[in-house]
């Protein structure tokens, strides 16, 4: 994902409402940048131990609880313009074209990566994700059943990661294992066994 650009991430299915997998995905990306991370939300419901397990320690994240969507956008833009941050993340429901273009330009000026975590109050509002924005890429993260274990229990989480839109690039979808403690995603073992099938799937998704 290019630095100095705006990227959009949303959850698939119920994830559009709770935004849990998308938050982990974004935390993993932000964890691999240098410097502090500004995370703007309207109402706080992030759980810091969970973010730490996705690779983002509490010392690196400055949280802003802005109260409403408009202030969230303003705070995100302020953070992107500053230039001293590693990444700026914001939980937003509505992202109009004008606002996204402002954010993208602010990111471009300073070279900070902007991550708009799209999250809606109701499932029905999630159709908003199809509206055009100035974002460089648009991702959708859906949860999948975890890796089977030989014993009862829940294995490492798996996600279906869809790159729905990329400016001047091809889209793809891929099944990956969720972020580990350093923010890195894993390639599932059963998938690595069948590269040809995975390859075929990628091309079908591009159409």
């Amino acid at each position: 994902m290019a630095l100095g650009c705006l990227h959009e991430v949303a959850g698939g299915g119920n994830g559009a409402v709770d935004g849990a997998a998308a938050a982990c995905f974004v935390a993993g990306i932000a964890a691999r940048t240098q410097g502090k991370v500004l995370w703007c939300v309207a109402q706080q419901d992030l759980f810091a131990p969970g973010l730490e397990q996705a690779g983002l320690p509490p010392d690196r994240v400055i949280h802003v609880e802005a109260g409403d969507d408009k202030s969230v956008l303003a705070c995100m833009e302020e953070g992107l313009r500053h230039g001293g941050l590693g990444a700026v993340v914001a939980d937003i429901a509505r992202l109009p074209m004008t606002a996204s273009r402002r954010l993208h330009l602010a990111a471009k000026e300073s070279g900070t990566i902007g991550l708009a975590l799209r999250r809606w109050r109701r499932q029905a509002e999630a159709s908003d994700f199809g509206q055009p924005t100035a974002a460089m890429t648009r991702w959708r993260i859906s949860v999948l059943p975890s890796r089977p274990l030989p014993v009862p229990g829940v294995g490492r989480a798996r996600w279906l990661i869809e790159l729905i839109r990329a400016r001047a690039g091809e889209s793809l979808d891929i099944e990956l294992e969720a972020c580990d403690g350093s923010g890195h995603l894993g390639l599932p073992a059963d998938m690595a066994d069948r590269p040809a099938a995975a390859e075929g799937r990628r091309h079908s998704a591009a159409s």
Partner: protein, 464 residues
Amino acid sequence: MTAVDATAQALGLRVGMPVTKAQALVPGLVIEPADPKADAESLERLALWVLQRIAPIVAVDPPDGIVIDSTGADHLHGGDAAMLDALIGRLTLSGVSARAAIADTWGAAHALARYGSNPVLIAMPGASIDMLAPLPLEALRLSPAIPAGLRDLGFSRIGDLIGQPRAPLTLRFGPELSRRLDQALGNSAEPIEPLRPEDMIEARRSFAEPIAAAETIARYIGKLVATLCEALEVRGLGVRRLDLLCHRIDSRVETVRIGLARPVRDPQRLTRLLCDKIETIDPGLGIEIMTLTATLAEPMTERQAVSHLIEAPEPDLSGLIDTLANRVGARAIYRFAPVASDVPERSVCRIPALAEETGAGWPDHWPRPSRLLPRPEPIETMALLPDHPPNWISWRGVRRRVRRADGPERVFGEWWKRDAELVAVRDYFRIEDDAGERFWIFRAGDGEDVATGSHRWFLHGVFG
């Protein structure tokens, strides 16, 4: 006797009682001579402390009060109620027991704080009359002879006076009664002359013609900041709180306060922070005087920028934090830090965004969700007691079959916090449904003993 504390009151001592009588009542009583001058000085020190932390317009209301104009300051504290809570809490911590009230006028707030039923009172705008009506006449700040005279005439409460014709009362008691009544009801203005200690750095500008346009205000803000910064530089100080007071020609005062995380003396930054707030200034018919005060100034040490050939310098975030704090309030910007507690909602606390890095985290923990619900939501389940995860759960009207589960992770109540938690237990499970959605649920109670909890199930968080 001029003052008694709670213990003395319990012993039957009252203000106004002769000392000899008190000594007869309580043998071995310790009596300090009253020192009104020292009292006034310490009240002024307290007012200064409030000025630096709470609001830009603060004055002493002798002999025992402080009056605060909370307009334009409450947003920094997150609303009126939060501001009062913080103020009372910090006063209590330093050993001052205080009563506080917020009302439309100085007079009403004075009366409600001293004679109101609650120690902390907030009167809704326009509701002051109803709240004042049942209070005794002394609440009106009258000279002592007047309430006694009024009581002879059959008036006992403020409510009795409100509807009365003023002329006969004025004839008998002088203009003071009407004036105080009007001031309490908001019919006549009572400006608060703000406390300004002598050594406070201030820049002031009066205009021959009143100004009102936003651009003009911005230009003069720039000039005032430049003057102020020069004065600060002479003394080697930087500002932490900056107050802009705009005196309008109708003798109202518009205030803007900005707070800074670290001492700052950079004119550009200060000007920008102040100019962000211009839209909150209502110039009315025009502004005739603008004053800029460095309410809280701290010594500023110039630090040499570390220049490494290899490492990039650490970027300075205090400017960004200040801008955001003045936009959404200082409480809304924070970092999370760990607290040694196994109860999930107590395991994090909020610390200032620019606090020292602790390096601490939540190491070696079981998996934790990335989103925690504000409060656990009850769910319906079918589960085998005592220690099996549920077969299915029903949350927000959707029934999900549990395919895989991990647990239980037992969290014990913290008996040192509340007595009720002495035996309380929560058993946490991490479950995954058919579609792969992962939730964090718990059962209140250990599954066997009813004393440990209600045995109802709750959903507490969502895993990514």
